[in-house]
């Protein structure tokens, strides 16, 4: 760890690159994990549930899939600031606050993608499960298993969104060095200092990391068809 840190410090100016990488990973994994659980659950629920106004809810969901992160950032900021409704939780300028903002951004994406893939495939699977005499719980489990690829894709999309996001984490996290500075906000800072090359290098590093994580995820996803959902 210390070696990595020293190595990075020799390449980059004094902006806390190593910490930024740690914060980025911590944020991306946490936000993706929470959003995946929430999003897939809500997606399943939305597909199963029949209620008036469902079409509106779906339309709102689709709209939220493209919500500008900076808007969510502002909303969360106003919620958690000292004189905001959640001010007592002390979440402003913390990673917890950043996770909250990203969960709000990513959950609609995973939910919407889950719902869409369920819509086209779930009925056939259900019919099949029913003819085989499966219980409702078994049926639902089968649906999830059969749609593993689609759900995996939704989660990967969410992860990509999290790791690349800058608007919300800048506002809510505050880009505090060593605490809430992520790779993307570091790039933004480097640009503002006129140090373009280092910013670009860090951007490439971010992409390489995303590529490695993606490759690992693909490897496990292909290799293990039984119960590896991530």
């Amino acid at each position: 760890m210390q070696f990595m840190k020293n190595l990075l410090d020799t390449f980059f100016s004094d902006v806390g690159v190593f910490d930024a990488i740690c914060v980025t990973l911590q944020l991306a994994f946490s936000a993706t994990l929470i959003s995946s659980v929430l999003g897939i659950f809500l997606g399943l629920l939305l597909e199963r549930a029949r209620f008036p106004g469902k079409r509106i809810v779906i339309r709102i969901n689709r709209t939220l899939m493209g919500v500008p992160p900076v808007v969510i950032g502002l909303v969360v900021y106003m919620l958690v600031m000292r004189r905001g409704p959640l001010g007592r939780l002390n979440m402003l300028f913390t990673i917890r606050g950043m996770i909250l903002a990203q969960v709000l951004i990513i959950t609609p994406i995973i939910c919407g993608m889950t719902y869409t893939s369920l819509l086209s495939k779930a009925p056939a699977i259900r019919t099949f499960a029913k003819t085989m005499g499966a219980s409702p719980a078994q049926t639902q489990w089968l649906v999830v298993k059969e749609l593993k690829n689609e759900l995996y894709f939704a989660v990967v999309t969410g992860f990509g969104r999290s790791i690349s996001e800058v608007g919300a984490v800048m506002l809510v996290g505050g880009n505090i060095k060593g605490h809430t500075r992520t790779m993307t906000t570091t790039i933004s800072l480097l640009k503002s200092q006129g140090i373009f090359t280092e910013g670009l290098t860090l951007g490439v590093l971010l992409l390489v990391m995303a590529f490695i994580i993606q490759s690992l995820a693909d490897f496990f996803q292909k290799g293990d068809k039984t119960d590896e959902n991530y």
């Binding site: 760890m1 100016s13 004094d14 740690c22 911590q26 800072l189 503002s192 200092q193 140090i195 590896e228």
Partner: protein, 321 residues
């Protein structure tokens, strides 16, 4: 093979979870030691140039009584956020157009980035505030000559408890250090940031020893907001402070705790980008600008700018000193 993969997957998932929970094995607190890497670079910022002040006294009698000058072209300026945020350029640009025929356009970035734009020949002229970097800019042949235009001053703001208002910057910074009070630094190597680091250095205090010394890496407005949220102290230019105090939605619960110290002055300089290096720059317009902004009439305009809105002038002209 399949077993191995499952095992690997379990290990990987475990590692990710551990990383997520612990935040990369305590890497977080390890790196709060900002060494003074003096890149010749400054000021970032919140470039919200709202505040378009109309120019009521735009009809200057001095311009040889000629009718409005014919429009000649554009002058591209790189400047700091403070000149744009305070609305000074919005105020001066129409007058400049009317009197000289050049249309002033500007990109409000940090001093560092502004100088970088000059070095790349992307702009015709720079108006910034970091004397050492400016002189280096000229020495390296990117700029023709540096002219001083005006100055404003910095103030330390924060809660009035436990530090009472004073003009002794040394005691303020020493108290912050000794009592480990929260202080939000720009941390972006901007002009303001350099000023702050310079004061710490002069007082021979190492602020990184203070666990509550934070670096926001953002513009002045965002840094003030953060300091307000954290009940912390910060160093800001007076213009941004006055504007934030006036215009911010959430009333700032902070006040000036230190002003008037000689260490807190902030000199602006204007430099034409060297046409020998970049023949395509608009040197004619740049020279017109320099002559214009240093003229007594325009210096007067600067001296009175902001008085009716904030009750005090934001800049003090000193081109002719």
């Amino acid at each position: 093979m399949k077993k191995q993969r499952q095992l690997l997957a379990a290990i990987l998932a475990g590692t990710m979870l551990a990383a997520a929970v612990t935040g990369c094995g305590g890497g977080n607190d390890a790196a709060d030691t900002p060494a003074d890497t003096e890149t010749p670079v400054e000021e970032t910022g919140e470039a919200t140039a709202d505040e378009a002040q109309d120019a009521p006294e735009a009809e200057e009698p001095e311009t040889g009584a000629a009718a409005p000058v014919e429009k000649k072209g554009e002058l591209m300026m790189a400047t700091t956020t403070s000149t744009a945020d305070t609305g000074l350029l919005d105020y001066l640009a129409p007058i400049f157009l009317e009197q000289t025929g050049w249309e002033l356009k500007w990109d409000a970035v940090g001093t560092g980035e502004a100088l970088k734009m000059g070095e790349n020949g992307d702009v015709d002229i720079v108006l910034v505030h970091a004397k050492a970097s400016e002189e280096e800019f000229v020495a390296n042949g990117f700029g023709v000559e540096r002219f001083q235009v005006m100055y404003n001053d910095f103030v330390v703001i924060g809660p009035t408890e436990p530090i009472a208002a004073t003009d002794d910057i040394e005691s303020v910074f020493q108290t912050i250090q000794d009592d480990q009070l929260t202080f939000v630094s720009r941390g972006d190597d901007s002009g303001t940031d350099k000023k702050e680091k310079g004061i710490w250095k002069k007082l021979e205090i190492d602020p990184s020893q203070n666990p509550n010394y934070l670096e926001s890496g953002q513009g002045m407005g965002a840094t003030i907001t953060m300091a307000d949220e954290k009940k912390a102290y910060c160093l800001t230019d007076r213009g941004t402070w006055l504007k934030m105090k006036n215009d911010a939605d959430v009333e700032l619960q902070m006040d000036i705790v230190c002003e008037g110290a000689p260490d807190l002055l902030n000199q602006y300089g204007i430099i034409a980008v060297n046409p020998e290096k970049y023949p395509e720059v608009n040197n004619e317009a740049a020279n017109t600008m320099i002559e214009w902004i240093c003229s007594p009439e325009v210096q007067d305009l600067i001296a009175n700018y902001g008085v009716d809105q904030y009750g005090e002038a934001l800049f003090t002209p000193n081109a002719n000193e």
